[in-house]
């Protein structure tokens, strides 16, 4: 059970959150200008690193705010976690 540091509400149990996958993948400004391959890259392809990983969560049972955070996939340690 992770203890996720919500930037607003502070550390809360994982059960209060929903996961949002890799962070930092913006919606393309003009999707129509992208090739099929570029669009597929945006839609489906994600990194899977061992170590530091920037990810998104939403505190759905709390303040309902989305946020980005870095977690070490090897240790589950959050950057701002204790």
């Amino acid at each position: 059970m992770l203890l996720i540091p919500c930037p607003h509400c502070g550390p809360r149990d994982e059960t209060e959150f929903k996961y949002g996958g890799q962070a930092g993948i913006p919606y393309p400004a003009n999707p129509a200008a992208l090739t099929d391959a570029e669009w597929v890259e945006y839609l489906f392809l994600r990194d899977n690193p061992k170590g530091a990983w920037r990810e998104r969560w939403v505190h759905s049972a709390g303040c309902r705010r989305w946020f980005d955070i870095t977690r070490d996939t090897l240790t589950n340690q959050f950057e701002s976690g204790r």
């Binding site: 059970m1 203890l3 509400c9 913006p26 839609l43 759905s60 989305w66 070490d72 240790t75 340690q77």
Partner: protein, 1081 residues
């Protein structure tokens, strides 16, 4: 072995309190405080079962959870029966019936459930619960070093909460929470522990503990030495003898041999001597002496021990007790759960904690850290070769894991098969998979494997320890989440009581219980549904549509936002109008659909499917917050603010007209796909002219607490016309006749709007989420599955939903048979007088007119592919008969009665409902100082920007709760919401913000009393400590399985909380609070 009770002694037993119990049909007497094992020994019972595969007699080996043999079935006095409990950890109780186990056991099907071998009910009558706790320091293990660590922690930080838990049911010292066994350690200091009632395993509590720092003081477990015939009754771990003598006043035998390799048996020798056991020999590996084998009587009991002396000579010693110590294993399982590493320590010939896990905050002390008191120098001794030639057979009784009947031969076979990893060896031999999980003999197996592999035991390691550390029942883990009311919340609408009283048959839709149909006397479901459908098509019918998701969307950019979210245009929608919309994910697949209405230039009322209410709001928030923060739009759930009643059928207008005397309800003034504000039976609400059936239809909305009265008013107004309540099944049939897909039934996350034949709802003039995906090669394939209708050739035959469809000439013997698609919905139609279905068929729209086959075991069904709309394709029915209202009596009513969600519901003491409080959700940009100042003036308090805080207005009538960085909930006296909403909206003006009256969207409970915090801690993971969570704060979190807002309110003398909960969860929460309150007794 001839064990018996000593005449004196025993720290754990109460000799004044005899306890009678049964063992294998015999009545035995023990003392209060005895374990089953100590009571058995006291009664001279030495054989406690026969081994799992080899059918060998086995005795009690240990005095703790490392017991491999003495596993028993216990039937408790209350009738509950539990299999495979270690007799060494369960205390005797008057009237318990204990049975020994033999072989592999069995579970026999009997009747409806499973019955255990002795006929006991498999249903667990146990009463378990769970509770959250928070501490700065958690010490696991109440021995000397654990108590010392706790004392040091407390002295160095007096403010800290130090929690010291210990598995022993008898407290080992002051401040020790006894009878609590830690099951596992997880991320971020999360520890689960089970607390069991000492004389019952049908009562207990699962603890969820968050600790900032953890001290592992779990001690060590003695391990055996492996030799030939090392499994006879009468052979015991040496330290267990001390325990039986000192704790239970039991003499474990008469003539003892000690086999040791370390100094801890000195104390054992002293203890048994004091109990009158004759120590006939000490076989000390440090002197080069070892036990090579044993002999027994006809029953297998130990009669003599064969010793090999250092000089090579063998001697046989008569004995009925052989006490073995091969050294001690620090109990490191919990250490490794948190990914602490281990190293092999030559000093104790065992694995000790090395580095803590990556999240740190953990240390081991005492024996758990390898500080074994009295160990002295150890002569590592793992296995003694057979006395004769070391053939394979000669190793066949060298038992390594008694619980699994695994021997050195099994290890040899595993390694001979090429397995090298100890993890693989464990799985191949099953060593360490028994109930004791390798805590005693596991390292011995590793050492033997290491010697065969020619490696160091430190390099081979031990298999990973995984939670739980001790066996725990599923019912214990489920804790309070049990039974029909508490296993999962049952969400109900305000009209539920009427449905229930009128015989509705319910179905689960997500967590909602919705009426599926309303059978009249003796009707089958088919008959009832045909009748309900006919009423909707020929007269008038009504349905509770409250569960549909509803989202208030506000802000100057609301139209722009909806244009991006929906596949079709909404910015052009006129105020007062409604439009059906489809929503896709970025991958182009349909996410949800629903009708959205324009309330004003910058405000929309969106509806979603029942199951997607929360996911759609999440989806909107995700795009608003993460992609388009520049859009001035706010979305607020109002699903439960409104009760929705659909009045459907050609005569629906007459019913609605009766209830809305002031509304111009003529077809010209109030056409299809528009909505009107209206006073409904005296209460202000909204009426939407939208249809999910193709018939004339009105959806009436009033604040939720008027919902039941609205339904009753509709039923009364419709009575002269024979209004018929209908359920979800009829709704499904009616919409399917019109070819309307249901998201989640016709779709499965892989369907595009085009697949559903809904290109008409997909704009080509704008971008929207998912549009780019609709031109991907995969989504534009001609052979994608498309939604079509199916008419079975035999009009009475119903296709099963889910049936696969193939071509008429398909070769049914081929593997695989080429599939064309599958049936998604299938019904009997009252309107068509026949069966029909919806199906997804490859290139289906081009196959209209063709036939397909549904090959089924009970006979294939042939059907014709038709358009998905099988009824009224020209939409001739949606306006009903515009002339039909002439002459309708229009009744002016005084207003609908309000019922609070918990009206008439029994609540525990000190818990009461505060119904009908005004609640207004406010969104505003906190950086707009002018705006915030205007809002402060209206509210009478400054909306707090500190998270999880609350303020009270100057006049004391309003609470303002922080819900998010730009969101607040304002609570006020009943009835004050509408003027406050208007004033706030005016204050926002052109600023960035939103205001929604959500008074009926939650109800409020007051929870008071000196133990209110304890009550909430049963279900809330937030730290409720009075120093941390006090008046002036609030928290949005989960209480059990319900979303709540918890607000501590003064005065501090007696804690009291307000709980705000959605009305649909209120009955669940009330049931949960009532159940939890019992736990406080």
């Amino acid at each position: 072995m001839t064990a018996s009770r000593l005449s004196t002694g025993g720290t754990h037993i109460d000799r004044s309190s005899s306890v009678e119990f049964e063992f294998d049909g015999r009545t035995l007497t023990g003392f209060a405080g005895d374990t089953i094992a100590s009571a058995l020994l006291a009664n001279g019972v030495d054989i406690v079962g026969r081994s799992i595969y080899h059918d060998r007699p086995r005795g009690i080996v240990s005095a703790g959870p490392e017991e491999p043999n003495a596993l028993v079935q216990v039937r408790w006095p209350d009738g509950a029966s539990e299999p495979m409990l270690p007799a060494t950890t369960v205390m005797v109780q008057k009237g318990m019936a204990v049975s020994s186990l033999a072989g592999r056991g069995r579970v026999e099907p009997a009747g409806e459930g499973l019955a255990l071998a002795d006929g006991a009910e498999a249903r667990d009558p146990g009463r378990f619960d769970s509770r959250h706790a928070h501490c700065e320091v958690l010490v696991i293990g109440g021995g000397e070093s654990g108590r010392r660590a706790a004392a040091v922690a407390q002295v160095s930080n007096p403010e800290d909460r130090v929690l010291l838990i210990d598995a022993d049911p008898v407290a080992t010292g002051d401040g020790v929470r006894s009878g609590m066994t830690a099951l596992g350690i997880y991320d971020y200091g999360y520890v689960t522990a089970v607390e069991r009632h000492p004389t019952s395993t049908t009562e207990g509590r699962l603890w969820h503990i968050r600790a900032r720092r953890i001290v592992i003081a779990t001690g060590a477990t003695e391990r055996p030495i492996v030799f030939a015939d090392d499994d006879r009754p009468g052979i015991m771990l040496a330290g267990a003898a001390t325990t039986y003598v000192e704790r239970y006043g039991v003499r474990p035998g008469e003539r003892a041999v000690i086999s040791t390799n370390n100094g801890t048996t000195d104390a054992v020798a002293a203890a048994i001597a004091g109990a009158g056991v004759e120590l006939v020999a000490t076989v000390d590996a440090r002197a080069g002496d070892v036990v090579v084998g044993t002999s027994g009587d006809d029953s297998g009991r130990l009669t003599s021990v064969t010793v090999a002396r250092a000089g090579g000579e063998h001697e046989t010693v008569e004995a009925d007790l052989l006490l073995v110590s091969g050294g001690w294993n620090p109990n490191v399982a919990l250490w490794t759960h948190a990914r602490g590493t281990l190293r092999f320590d030559e000093r104790i010939a065992g694995f000790v904690p090395d580095r803590p896990g990556p999240q740190g905050r953990m240390e081991a002390v005492g024996a758990a850290a390898g500080e074994i008191e009295g160990l002295g120098e150890i002569a590592p001794t793992w296995v003694v070769p057979p006395p004769g030639p070391a053939t394979v057979d000669a190793w066949a009784t060298h038992y390594v894991d008694l619980g699994r009947d695994a021997t050195v031969v099994d290890l040899q076979r595993a390694l001979g098969a090429g397995l090298e990893s100890i993890e693989h060896v464990k799985r191949y031999t099953t060593i360490g998979t028994g109930i004791e999980q390798g805590r005693s003999g596991g390292v011995v197996a590793s050492a033997i494997a290491a010697s065969i592999l020619g490696q160091d035991v430190g390099a081979v390691g031990v298999p990973t320890f995984r939670p739980p550390t001790v066996p725990v029942s599923f019912s214990q883990l489920a804790a309070r989440d049990r039974g029909p009311m508490l296993a999962d919340p049952v969400r109900t609408t305000p009209i539920q009581a009427w449905h229930f009283a009128n015989g509705a048959v319910f179905e689960d839709v997500g967590q909602w219980k919705r009426p599926r149909f309303f059978p009249r006397d003796g009707e089958s479901m088919d008959e009832a549904v045909l009748r309900e459908c006919a009423a909707a098509r020929t007269g008038v019918a009504a349905m509770d549509a409250t569960t549909l998701g509803k989202i208030d969307i506000q802000g100057p950019d609301a139209g722009t936002f909806l244009d991006r979210v929906y596949t079709n245009m909404f910015s052009t929608l006129k105020v007062g109008s409604c439009r059906y919309g489809l929503m896709c994910r970025a991958d182009g697949m349909v996410l949800d659909d629903g009708v959205t209405s324009r309330l004003s230039a910058d405000r929309f009322h969106m509806t979603t499917t029942t199951g997607n209410a929360a996911p759609v709001l999440d989806h909107l928030e995700e795009w608003l917050q993460t992609e388009w923060p520049e859009l001035r739009v706010h979305a607020t759930s109002v699903t439960e603010q409104w009760t929705t009643v659909a009045v459907v059928g050609p005569r629906a207008r007459e019913v609605v007209a009766t209830l809305t005397p002031d509304l111009d309800i003529s077809n010209d003034a109030f056409p299809f796909m528009t909505w009107r504000e209206a006073v409904i039976a005296g209460t202000p609400g909204r009426v939407f002219r939208i249809s999910f059936s193709g018939e004339l239809s009105f959806e009436l909305n009033v604040p939720a607490w008027h919902g039941l009265a609205l339904w009753e008013a509709v039923m009364a107004a419709g009575e002269p016309l024979g209004i018929t309540p209908y359920g979800t099944e009829a709704m499904h049939v009616l919409r399917a006749e019109k070819g309307y897909p249901i998201i989640g039934q016709e779709t499965d996350g892989t369907m595009t709007p085009q697949d559903l034949g809904m290109s008409w709802a997909v704009s080509t003039k704008k971008d929207f989420i998912g549009r780019r995906s609709h031109t991907r090669p995969d989504t534009s394939r001609a052979d994608r599955k498309q939604l079509v209708g199916l008419l079975p050739l035999d009009s009475g035959t119903l296709l099963p939903e889910g049936a696969q469809l193939v071509a008429l000439d398909a070769d049914l013997e081929a593997t695989p048979v080429p599939m064309l698609g599958h049936v998604t919905s299938s019904y009997r139609s009252a309107a068509l007088g026949r069966t029909f279905a919806l199906a997804l068929v490859k290139g289906g729209r081009d196959r209209i007119g063709q036939r397909v086959l549904a090959p089924l075991v009970e006979g294939s069904i042939e059907a014709e592919i038709v358009d998905s709309v099988v009824f009224d394709p020209e939409n001739t029915r949606r306006d009903g008969d515009p002339a039909a209202i002439e002459g309708t009596r229009r009744v002016t009513a005084a207003g609908l009665r309000a019922h609070s969600p918990l009206e008439g519901v029994e609540l525990p003491a000190r818990v009461r409902e505060l119904p009908f409080l005004a609640q207004v959700d406010l969104r505003a940009d906190p950086s707009d100082a002018a705006l915030m100042a205007r809002l402060t003036e209206v509210i009478g308090a400054r909306a707090p920007t500190e998270p999880n805080t609350a303020v009270v207005s100057d006049d004391g009538t309003r609470h303002v709760l922080w819900l998010g960085p730009d969101e607040w909930l304002i609570l006020g006296e009943p009835g004050t919401a509408p003027p406050l909403e208007r004033a706030l909206r005016e204050a926002i003006g052109a600023g960035r913000g939103a205001v929604v009256d959500v008074s009926a969207n939650r109800t409020t409970l007051s929870v008071g009393g000196p133990r209110a915090r304890d009550l909430l801690a049963f279900g809330c993971s937030v730290d409720l400590d009075e120093r941390r969570f006090k008046p002036g704060m609030c928290a949005q979190t989960l209480l059990a399985r319900a979303n709540v807002i918890i607000v501590p309110v003064g005065p501090a003398v007696e804690p009291a909380f307000r709980l705000l909960v959605r009305p649909s969860f209120a009955a669940y929460l009330a049931a949960w609070l009532s159940d939890a309150a019992v736990g406080l007794d």
